[in-house]
Symmetry: C2
DNA sequence: TGTATTCAATACAGAACTGTATCCTACTCG
DNA sequence: CGAGTAGGATACAGTTCTGTATTGAATACA
């Protein structure tokens, strides 16, 4: 039961997984195809049997992580929207739990971002991914503000953009100074401040 | 009058400048030593006569840009502190005018950050630079809040960290979507909101 | 059971890059 | 004006990486 096309997609998955790790450690350009294969437990033969080039792998990897992320979010959304807690909890919950390994995720997504800033095609792909992510978060925010009687002083999407900016900026700082800034601390300090700034109980 | 050691430091400078451009275009790993030399109008002979390796160049480049940045800030500070305008104006002024070419600066500093996240030594260097930058900004904020009768609801340094996070996060977003988000627009939207969140007239 | 097919390993050719060693040129200075 | 030197170009050797072509093994199928 583990043989026909299953095998292929399995090695593909392992290659993608290996690529994720190696890219996080050395960056796109810094990681050779052989590094990736070695990490995945294959040789280059397997690689070129599954991907035409490293660029194609990068693209596939982006698609895969994107799909997985959106999937996780879909799963998380109803839970966060309906369950107890405040807007803050929900937003933090989505931002935090969407990325299992903070550090690796940040490295990879920064790498993608950098890549996108230099390549319009990649920018396009990344932007639609980010737009979907923003939409999810926006919907969540709208739902919760409605049910909890809050009013935002700016449009929800603008608010979400701000939240994302703060989150990413804070994460960058805390990863750079892990001793002084425990992971998540900055975010959890900043976001309440921001939230308080733009939301007030609707009368 | 342009000959003894002047020549050397001149080609060094040109190499650094070329490196800055090429790194911005292709990233550290993506840029070969030869690319850099070509950009600067030299061959590899000149390079290895001035630097031991690409790593050393990166370090020197970081130092050079760091020095230049701090120098500019020193020059800007008194002007911003004493002249008219609000806290917001001053902060925005410092953040905006410190980086002449937004895009290139962002690419390079992101690249540095990524590098630092993987190399503790680089992290050390980057962190002391960022600490100095934060200190400047913190002093500026403290001065202005005093003279303008504002009180921050959090320590000034914490406030500055938040401002930097917002600034970097916003810049990243606007560079990714230049059509939808004109440069600086997001920052200029977000920062007032943040500022309002944590500052109030001291009674 | 034997044949065909699929997937990955191995072997190989070519390109790119790095770093060194040598050479050339243009100043400097006696 | 001539010897010495510094800075940079050129040539070269070694390494690493990519991509292709061939081979081998395991499975599907007749």
């Amino acid at each position: 039961m583990e043989t026909p096309k299953r095998r292929r997609s399995n090695t593909r998955a392992r290659l993608l997984e290996g690529a994720l790790e190696v890219f996080a450690e050395r960056g796109f350009h810094g990681a050779s195809v052989e590094d990736i294969c070695e990490r995945a437990g294959f040789t280059r033969g397997a690689f070129y049997s599954n991907f035409a080039s490293k660029d194609e792998l990068v693209l596939a990897l982006f698609q895969a992580t994107t799909d997985r992320l959106l999937e996780q979010i879909e799963a998380l959304l109803p839970e966060l929207a309906n369950q107890p807690g405040t807007l803050l909890d929900a937003v933090l919950g989505l931002l935090d739990e969407a990325a299992p390994d903070q550090r690796q995720w940040h490295l990879i997504s920064t790498e993608f971002t950098l890549h996108a800033l230099r390549d319009p095609e990649a920018a396009q792909a990344l932007n639609t991914q980010r737009a979907m992510f923003r939409d999810s978060l926006t919907k969540l925010v709208e739902q919760i503000t409605e049910t909890s009687g809050l009013t935002l002083s700016v449009p929800a999407e603008q608010f979400v953009r701000l939240v994302i900016a703060v989150h990413e900026g804070a994460r960058s700082q805390s990863l750079l100074e892990p001793r002084k800034l425990p992971p998540g601390e900055l975010e959890h300090t900043f976001l309440p401040m921001v939230l308080e700034a733009v939301s007030r109980p609707s009368r």
